[in-house]
């Protein structure tokens, strides 16, 4: 049979989740594609379900995503154990039939939803992998999300962006087939000289840059960790890096090669994902993976990325890395003694880490308990801030660890009666299960040692560009679990 494979979308919605209001949400934007709908009707045959109006769609989607305020009772169509969703693709009951596939996810209080065209009958559901519109639908929603939240801070900014969407989608997706996932770019196009040369102009680059050539490379590493201080459970930590580039270069297709290097004792980069503008990759980069056991033979660079840059700032690559030790190693001991909790925290900065923070804090939350009514404590370094109502202690360590590199906090905490509305329920921190979460940032530093050497940046374009490089390390999901109680483990923790 003829499969036109046009990867099209039948409709797109943006829905603001508004808990506490009668409908629990409102449609902020919607767009339908009737020519695609026409094809859906033909291809889906008897299993065709028309795209509903906004009202019924809103209701059905919020119910399915459990975003209505009526979670109290067991509802079979939503809570049945066999109603299992393992992807962001849903079937919505609409007028006694099922609208499927609905691609939807919630981010920052906004629900992004679309219905891709499936060019075959829907009963039984074909596997998602065979539906080209699924990845296109997700991609469009990601693009809209990026556009809405790039630099957006206030509601009025959001509203401005929402009002720009219809015009932008007319360019990015005129007939329901996505042409360009970089919506922000479409808006910025006017800033660049349009091309009149007959030379090949990439569709992802609307014009050319005119001005002083320069290349900015910024490496941001996030370190996450799970520390248990237990015999049978190994600590885990991982570095996740992102390399962002902005290349202001003249010419239609300037070629650039950026090499990332490691110092001799640096940790190899793994799981490298590159931007589609990268033209080729060394097979060692392609295969270097955290899945394999580490050994000395691991490829340790330099990691060369030849590419033709787009106009805008973009993420050249992402990577992960397994550094030999976590930057800060600590333990947390918390014990319930009659009416109060006894706590002890110890943190030690590893000697190899640059002891110069932009900030460093340890957050010690107490979940599923009442507000803090009484606190006695002792810190060897820094200050402690108490947020009584939130049940939170923040230990402000500051810019530097002391010479010993080791600091400690001990104390006792007493709590008032628990009130459910003020203290949200935490699913993990039940009973003695508790954590300290570290928040820190170190500028001009990476944990892997990874850096982009100015001299290794090759640019094949007119004029010698100025090259700026930046580095920073920030913490992300850096947890130290109470070693006196059970803690959630990941599979990896059990193999050490």
């Amino acid at each position: 049979m003829l499969q036109p494979l046009t990867m099209a979308l039948r409709a797109v919605w943006l829905i603001r989740h508004e808990p506490g209001t009668p409908l629990c949400g409102s449609v902020r934007f919607s767009r339908r594609y009737p020519t695609v709908e026409k094809r859906a009707k033909i291809f889906n045959g008897v299993s065709y379900v028309p795209v509903p109006e906004d009202g019924p769609f809103l209701k059905a989607l919020l119910f399915e995503l459990r975003l209505l305020d009526d979670d109290k009772d067991f509802v079979e169509s939503r809570d049945s154990c066999s109603h299992i969703n393992k992807t962001s693709i849903y079937g919505l009951p609409i007028g006694g039939k099922e609208l499927w596939p609905v691609v939807a996810f919630l981010r920052n209080g906004m629900i992004y939803a679309s219905v891709p065209l499936v060019e075959q009958t829907l009963s039984p559901h074909p596997p998602l992998i065979s539906i080209s519109g699924i990845s296109q639908g997700l991609q469009l929603l990601f693009s809209i999300q990026d556009f809405l939240y790039l630099g957006q801070k206030t509601d009025s900014e959001l509203n401005t962006k929402l009002s720009q969407l219809p015009d932008l989608l007319l360019q990015a997706c005129p007939f329901g087939t996505l042409l360009n996932a970089n919506i922000q770019n479409l808006l910025d196009n006017s800033n660049f000289a349009s091309v009149t040369q007959p030379q090949k102009q990439p569709a992802w680059k609307a014009g050319t840059y005119k001005g002083k050539p320069q290349v900015s490379i910024s490496i941001t590493e996030k370190v996450k960790s799970m520390q248990y201080d237990k015999q049978d459970i190994g600590d885990t930590w991982q570095v996740v890096g992102a390399v962002t580039c902005k290349c202001d270069l003249e010419g239609i297709m300037p070629n650039v090669t950026i090499s990332l290097s490691l110092p001799t004792n640096g940790s190899p980069l793994q799981d490298i994902l590159v931007h589609p503008c990268v033209t080729s990759l060394d097979s060692a980069i392609l295969t270097s993976s955290s899945i394999d056991a580490m050994d000395d033979s691991a490829f340790s660079g330099p990691y060369k990325f030849p590419f033709t840059p787009p106009l805008e700032s973009f993420n050249l690559c992402y990577y992960t890395s397994q550094v030999p030790v976590p930057p800060i190693l600590g333990f947390y001991q918390m014990k319930e003694e009659e009416v109060q909790l006894k706590i002890a925290v110890n943190l030690k900065l590893h000697e190899s880490v640059k002891n110069n923070f932009e900030f460093c804090e340890a957050h010690i939350p107490f979940y599923n308990r009442g507000p803090i009514t009484h606190l006695e404590y002792k810190v060897s370094f820094g200050q402690l801030e108490v947020f009584r109502e939130k049940g939170l202690l923040v230990w402000i360590i500051g810019q530097k660890f002391p010479k010993s590199m080791e600091i400690s906090l001990s104390g006792t905490v007493t709590f008032g009666a628990k009130s459910h509305d003020k203290q949200p329920f935490d699913q993990i921190c039940i009973g003695g299960t508790a954590y300290v979460k570290l928040h820190f940032k170190i500028l001009d530093y990476t944990l892997t040692g990874c850096y982009a050497d100015q001299h290794s940046v090759q640019v094949f374009a007119s004029g010698k560009p100025k090259i700026n490089t930046h580095r920073k390390l920030i913490s992300s999901d850096f947890y130290i679990w109470n070693s006196k109680a059970p803690a959630p483990v990941t599979y990896g923790s059990l193999f050490l």
Partner: protein, 875 residues
């Protein structure tokens, strides 16, 4: 009416978008489409307002112009508006082109006979090829964006009418080679190339040089031939994701000539070589299109794609990686060696958990892993399974943990289950086997669900995970036994999860469900717990109460009854009784129901208990089971008893149905002390315990007894039944008949049957035969006894072809006292209860016989007269 103001339009558009159907049904609905087209030409409205009008026609053309003539007119009007634009830059040209295209497609008017189509197509082609299209197409700066827009419009038209651009392949190729906008032209060429290949292969012809033909339609008419052939294939589609081993599936195999093959290869290579100039999403579309176009074409090695793959495998851009998977599915081993396959799988595994990618992407890749198009799949097609090359090492990074989002947890849990299923054979007693990890994970989920105040979503997740394990690991007692006990413990900790457990029991197989029911039953009866848990315990028992532990359950219920102070609890209690009733009842239950019928506070509850008691006392076990079988509707009425009654009225109250029975009167049987009606009965369906009830209007007959038939089965010969009649007067009548019976399903049915007639002659009985030689004297004695209180008459009984002898032998044989065949007969008929009819048929002639008749009951004379006169007619 003049044009609406900007504000009025803005209000209308908002009202329309809120609910298009409601707006169209309203007062302004009918004129909306017409007003919109008119106001597009109004000079009072700003371009911005007109753009918003056009965007409405882009989204809702079918609502605005619902039928083909309206769509044709609207498209024409849109094209007119386009031509009339002043030759300066305008934001309207693009949306006008898009709108005209949309309206033609959705109105179903795109065809050679449509004037608007014949205007739009050459216009689009002219714009797409960068030709001067004349008036109204603005400054040069607008030409290039419009060129791209025209390509998009053409592509949409081709999508909706495959083959439409088949004649333009050569032109599109040459445009791509020149300076046309690369992305729209590439996609347009790829789509029409693919459509042409499919359509041509179906008709068994090659490309016929289409790829190299020059510009043909300049000025000439549009070629619709291929589009007409393509339309035949635009039908509801069957699933079509290929598996690599099915060979040249899907498309009919097309064998292009060497020359064509070369041209085709050149065109595809041209498209692929410049594909890096397309946006990633457009590259993905191109790869899907070309992949599917070349699949099934002989002499087109997929190696053309190879250079692209090296570039694409490094990225985790969602649409690109998806397109690579599509190529993998399309070409299998021909494009991906075993090493390539392993690398792709590694990249996919990596992307499925890369911290830099968002959750929906992870979830999609996890799905792709379980549906990975392997070169040599082992398992059954279409079933989710871990690919062979995804060993434990790769899986390790995809293990679930409590910290994951619920969907990620379930997706990863599925993978873990598949791993555990494989592990079964080779349990190596590792320090931490996947199975142990699975158990700990489930225990963690239960712990969270058990916590007081934890949200319902956590409980749901826990049961979904348990269900997933239950279906993936059927028969693995090492996993299922701890699961059963864990769930029972969870119930003990938080009885309010009863609805989840009831649902779980409904979903899982008996292999897991039966032992779980037993454990839960034990859990409830052995630990009555706090009174606030009673409601849940009762709900749970109603599900799990079964035959074997009745006494424990009954004592639990007896103790519980005292706490059942409100209506809801009483109903819950009664529902457990109902479950026990269904399981067969028992003495203890009889007692309990009696107690409840006396003690419950609520009268509704008492009535209900009494009803159950009565049912238990009066119905046999199987019947009780059937009676209680229909699921009980939630009592929304004031009385649960009413609701309950509605529930099993079906089974206990007799059903009125049309009868599956045929009943007829058989031959007469004049003997014995009373007249007996012989009935023949046939069943059209199997029926049991049939009772036939008869009723006579008025007091003519004594009440008739019912007839019982134990079993009737269709296809058997008619069954004979005998119905004794007890007339109080010897008169004909009609019998009303009703049937009452059971169906094989246990329902009791009632059916009225057509009435049966009892004729005068049906009441005839003979006198005892007098001894030989005294017959004449006997007859004369009777004859004389009739008068004076009786009546006498003479009747001419016509004879047709039959002689008198035949007539007598057919109708009156049993009653003949004296016969002097063939012409003289003396006949005596007894008519219950106490009458007689005597006939002398003497000196018969050819055409009739005179009959002298006497009776001791004057009232029967007219009946007898009618009977005799009618005899001839009955022949």
């Amino acid at each position: 009416m003049g044009p609406l103001s900007r504000e009025a339009w803005a209000q209308r558009l908002v009202a329309f978008r809120t609910s298009p159907s409601a707006f169209m049904a309203g007062a302004d609905g009918e004129d909306l489409g017409r007003n919109l087209l008119n106001d597009l030409r109004s000079e009072k409205l700003t371009e911005q307002t007109k753009v918003s009008l056009l965007s409405l026609s882009l989204e809702y053309p079918a609502e605005l112009w619902p039928d083909p003539p309206a769509a044709e007119a609207a498209a024409t009007s849109l094209l007119d508006a386009l031509v009339l634009l002043p030759p300066r830059p305008s934001a309207l040209r693009k949306p006008l082109l898009l709108a005209a295209t949309t309206v033609l497609v959705t109105g179903g008017v795109l065809s050679p006979t449509s004037g608007a189509s014949c205007r739009l197509l050459p216009l689009l082609l002219g714009l797409a090829s960068g030709r001067d299209v004349g008036r109204g197409f603005g400054p040069i700066s607008e030409q290039r964006p419009l060129q791209a827009t025209a390509c998009e419009c053409l592509r949409e038209l081709e999508s909706c009418k495959p083959g439409l651009l088949g004649g333009l392949l050569g032109l599109l190729r040459s445009l791509l080679g020149q300076e046309g906008p690369i992305q729209p032209l590439s996609l347009l060429l790829a789509l029409s190339l693919r459509d042409t290949l499919v359509i041509q292969s179906r008709s068994g012809v090659g490309l016929q040089g289409l790829l190299v033909s020059g510009v043909s339609s300049e000025g000439g008419s549009w070629d619709w031939t291929l589009a007409e052939e393509g339309a035949a294939h635009l039908l509801p589609q069957a699933p079509s994701w290929p598996t690599p081993n099915e060979g040249e599936c899907g498309l009919a195999v097309l064998e292009p000539s060497p020359e064509e093959a070369r041209e085709l290869r050149a065109a595809v290579a041209q498209l692929l070589d410049t594909s890096y100039l397309l946006t990633p999403v457009a590259q993905a579309q191109l790869l899907w299109l070309l992949g599917w176009a070349l699949r099934g074409l002989r002499g087109q090695p997929p190696a053309l794609f190879k250079p692209q793959l090296v570039r694409l495998l490094g990225t985790a851009q969602l649409t690109l990686l998806h397109a690579v998977l599509a190529l993998k599915a399309a070409f299998g081993e021909a494009l991906f060696t075993a090493q390539d396959e392993a690398l792709l799988l590694r990249r996919l595994t990596l992307a499925a958990q890369h911290p830099s990618l968002p959750l929906p992407t992870h979830l999609f890749y996890l799905h792709c892993l379980l549906s990975f198009p392997e070169n040599w799949p082992l398992g059954p097609e279409g079933e989710e399974a871990a690919p062979l090359l995804l060993g434990p090492q790769l899986c390790r990074s995809l293990m679930p943990s409590l910290l994951h989002d619920p969907m990620a947890l379930l997706a990863r849990l599925h993978l873990l289950c598949l791993l555990c299923a494989e592990e079964e054979e080779e349990d190596k007693g590792q320090l931490q086997s996947p199975r142990q990890y699975l158990e700990e994970l489930l225990a963690g989920l239960r712990q969270r669900a058990a916590l007081d105040g934890s949200p319902r979503a956590l409980a749901t997740l826990c049961f979904q995970a348990s269900y997933l394990v239950a279906i993936c690991l059927v028969g693995q007692t090492k996993v299922l036994t701890p699961l059963i006990h864990g769930l029972a413990q969870l119930y003990r900790a938080r009885p309010m999860l009863a609805p989840h457990l009831v649902d779980f029991l409904d979903q899982v197989s008996p292999e897991l469900g039966e032992p779980l029911k037993r454990v839960l039953q034990q859990e409830v009866v052995s630990r009555p717990g706090r009174p606030e848990a009673l409601r849940w315990h009762l709900q749970m028992l109603a599900k799990v109460a079964e035959g074997d532990a009745q006494s424990a359950i009954l004592s639990f219920l007896q103790a519980a009854a005292a706490h059942c102070t409100d209506w809801r609890l009483q109903q819950a209690l009664l529902r457990v009784c109902r479950a026990l009733l269904q399981a067969g009842g028992g003495n203890g239950l009889t007692h309990l129901l009696q107690v409840l019928a006396r003690q419950l506070e609520d009268p509704d509850g008492r009535d209900h208990a009494r009803l159950y008691y009565i049912l238990l006392a009066h119905l046999a076990g199987p019947k009780l089971g059937v009676a209680l079988d229909p699921s009980l509707a939630a009592p929304t009425l004031a009385s649960s008893l009413v609701a309950e009654n509605q529930g099993f009225a079906v089974t206990l109250i007799v059903q009125e149905t049309p009868a599956p029975i045929r009943l007829s009167v058989g031959p007469r049987m004049p003997k014995g002390p009373l007249p007996v009606l012989q009935l023949h009965i046939e069943a059209l369906e199997p029926i049991y315990s049939l009772e036939l009830r008869f009723r006579v209007e008025g007091q003519l007959y004594a009440p008739l007894g019912a007839i019982h038939v134990p079993y009737l089965c269709p296809g058997h010969p008619a069954h004979s039944l005998f119905l004794p009649l007890q007339p109080r007067h010897p008169a004909p009548t009609q019998l009303e008949v009703q049937a009452l019976y059971s169906t094989p399903a246990g329902l009791t049915c009632h059916a009225p049957l057509p009435p049966l007639s009892v004729n005068f002659e049906d009441l005839f009985l003979p006198f005892p035969q007098p001894p030989d030689g005294v017959e004449q004297g006997f007859f004369e004695g009777l004859w004389d006894s009739c008068l004076p209180k009786g009546a006498e008459s003479r009747v001419w009984c016509p004879l047709k072809s039959q002689g008198l002898e035949t007539l007598v032998s057919r109708h009156l044989e049993p009653f003949v006292i004296v016969a002097q065949a063939p012409n003289n007969y003396h006949i005596a008929i007894r008519l219950p209860p106490a009458s007689m009819l005597l006939l002398r048929l003497e000196a018969a002639q050819v055409d009739g016989v005179p009959v002298a008749l006497r009776t001791d009951d004057w009232a029967i004379l007219p009946l007898a007269g009618d009977y005799l006169r009618g005899l001839a007619g009955t022949e």
